[in-house]
Symmetry: C2
Subunit: 191 residues, 2 copies
DNA sequence: CGATTCTTTGAAAACAGTCAATCTGTGTGG
DNA sequence: CCACACAGATTGACTGTTTTCAAAGAATCG
């Protein structure tokens, strides 16, 4: 909770009353490694903020292969945006890669905070825009770069994931098989 | 302009005064095929709405290959979002695929409309969220499906693009070479 | 320790990219 | 109106990359 309040004050201007108001409606949730926060097909009724640990959002295709859409660690937001917004069943599932501590807000409280606290509303708008930019860049790199280049870009962007996330999930995130990523990595270290 | 007012009233609730206010600050722009609306490196200072015609937003990689990020036709919005928001040089360029008619708003007027007209603000927020969802789905399909599956999905989503957009640009959008797409298409029609 | 998860490796097959040539249709200028 | 140029699409032959399948080797955890 501490760290979240630091995060908020770093990202926007909030009065103490506003911070209390926000704190009053946040719920702390702890997840063990491999526990689900959201299952595919459920409606996503929350916004989550990662205090510690790491999680992934992934989709499962018809042939039962899991495809990682995003990772999230300390100070990242995470939910199934489309399901949260529309109330439709989530296309993705969310589970924990490590034991994690999260802060959750119900959709009702989230809307309330957006309405009542201008800086909160501005923050979330800016988060959405930045997600869109980031996802645009990722899309560009998947249609433009080779698997090897994407892997190195990934490591540059998220250096600590190398240790915290299993290789086969990074492969899945990059859209290549784990065998291919294993070989790419071998190449890189030999040089 | 007519069609845009129809679009607006279909998407939200606007009073006549609001519609006039919006109309008062929109600029009509016509582009010939192959003309640029935005060049890579320029700052994108406008939002555009496509009344007729079609355009593409693309990035050029170091090896001088063009990669189509998106297409836009009638009733689509288009700009370089990141540059528009941040004021940084655009990573993408925009040009016309056909002779096109657009409506433009300067950043100042756009912000003004968002501030003054709640329904306008709501509309643009919803557009951003939907873009994010759509781009998420596209990302999923690029990391999950084969080129052939993606091509058919593309045709299902945008049937008229088949006639209006050159094949090599669809290939670029899908992240495959034009030769590969040519062969995929041949396969499909033979069956 | 035993079980599970994760990573690596090899070999074959499928797939996609490159290069070069050709073919097609469109539109422009003479 | 024709000829020519040009943009776009296709094809073949070849190369290179990635997947798949199967097996085995680490690492981690209870």
């Amino acid at each position: 909770m501490e760290s979240f309040l630091h995060y908020l004050t770093a990202k926007g201007t909030f009065t103490d009353t506003e911070l209390e108001r926000i704190a009053a409606v946040t719920v702390v949730k702890k997840l063990k490694k491999r526990q689900y926060l959201l299952r595919q097909g459920e409606v996503c009724r929350f916004k989550a903020f990662v205090v510690s640990g790491s999680l992934r959002l992934y989709r499962t295709s018809d042939d039962a292969v899991e495809h990682v859409m995003r990772f999230a660690t300390e100070n990242w937001w995470l939910n199934d945006l489309e399901s949260f917004r529309s109330g439709r069943p989530a296309k993705g599932a969310i589970d924990a890669l490590e034991d994690s501590t999260l802060l959750l807000w119900s959709k009702e409280n989230w809307e309330l905070l957006k309405r009542e606290i201008p800086a909160f509303n501005a923050l979330q708008a800016s988060l959405i825009s930045r997600s869109l930019d980031a996802q645009g860049d990722r899309l560009y790199s998947t249609i433009s770069y080779s698997a090897e280049e994407r892997y190195h870009e990934f490591l540059k962007s998220f250096p600590d994931f190398y240790h915290r996330v299993p290789l086969h999930m990074i492969a899945s995130y990059l859209g290549v098989s784990r065998e291919t990523l294993s070989r790419i990595r071998k190449h890189a270290t030999v040089q």
